[in-house]
Symmetry: C2
Subunit: 170 residues, 2 copies
């Protein structure tokens, strides 16, 4: 399963592509899209949209995994994050690629075994799991890869359970 992980944001949007199945994961690509804070909000979204569409075209993921964002102390940052999430949803819907959401807790638990792990621990585990020679930088890139790993592992599990449940019902 090929997963494009997206850590949504307008100032920095982390993107990471992983090929994986439970217990195995290989990095295909990683990057960060940045848009200038003083640019027009609509122009920033257009730019992000073009970049995400380019990644979808280049890497043709089976699924896009996005971080589910909850309330934050900073309302403004929650809004721009939600805008970046909407752009991701639109771009994926346009080509029929499914989008799944994972909470930060799910991602941390998937890659470190603990939903309370800190950022350094997540980055360390992502680096180890993907066999990278150095930690992905910035943190948004590491988070996007962690999301992709999380879904490649959990998603497959969930699908298997759903298939089993389906089998039981039929």
């Amino acid at each position: 399963m090929r997963v494009l992980g997206v850590d949504p944001g307008l100032t920095r949007c982390g993107l990471g592509v992983v090929d994986g199945r439970p217990g195995r994961a290989a990095m295909v690509a990683v990057g960060v899209v940045r848009t200038p804070g003083d640019a027009d909000p609509g122009e920033r979204l257009l730019y992000l949209e073009r970049e995400i569409e380019a990644w979808l075209t280049r890497y043709a993921p089976d699924v896009v995994a996005v971080e589910r964002v909850f309330a934050d102390v900073n309302v403004r940052s929650v809004m721009t994050t939600a805008h970046a999430t909407a752009v991701t949803l639109l771009a994926a819907a346009r080509r029929g690629t499914p989008v799944v959401f994972h909470t930060p807790t799910e991602v941390k638990a998937a890659v470190t075994g603990s939903g309370r792990a800190d950022k350094a621990q997540v980055t360390a585990m992502v680096t180890r799991i993907l066999g990278l020679s150095s930690a992905p930088r910035p943190a948004d890139a590491a988070d996007a890869l962690a999301l992709a790993v999380c879904h490649a592992w959990r998603g497959a599990q969930t699908s298997r359970l759903a298939a089993l449940a389906e089998g039981t019902r039929s």
Copy 2:
């Protein structure tokens, strides 16, 4: 000045077009876009995008006025509102139409004289200002018209003040 007011939402997105200048306003069109809550989130955004693009094409507004949303008790509703706002920003940016934001308080003050007016009062004044034979329904449609009136009146004022300030500086 022709203004498309947008009361952003996914379940119901209010749209209202007004031709106006300070003290004068005429309704051109009003409507509500609804998307089913059980549909795929990306598909809902795509549908809303197509509708907003159709309104931009049909009515060619000079500017789009969107309600600036702050935190709400319901985090989920804030998120879908932010997603609808992002779709509006994208659609407008694609054709180079400027987008402005007004807070609910600004809108209420512009059409009723009080930033603390309730919904019924706003609807009553929108109906009166636009010379409508009956109140626009649902509330989202009235809110979109109120936004458009607010910008046609305040926006022109702001532009005039900006021009005066510019004249003073030069």
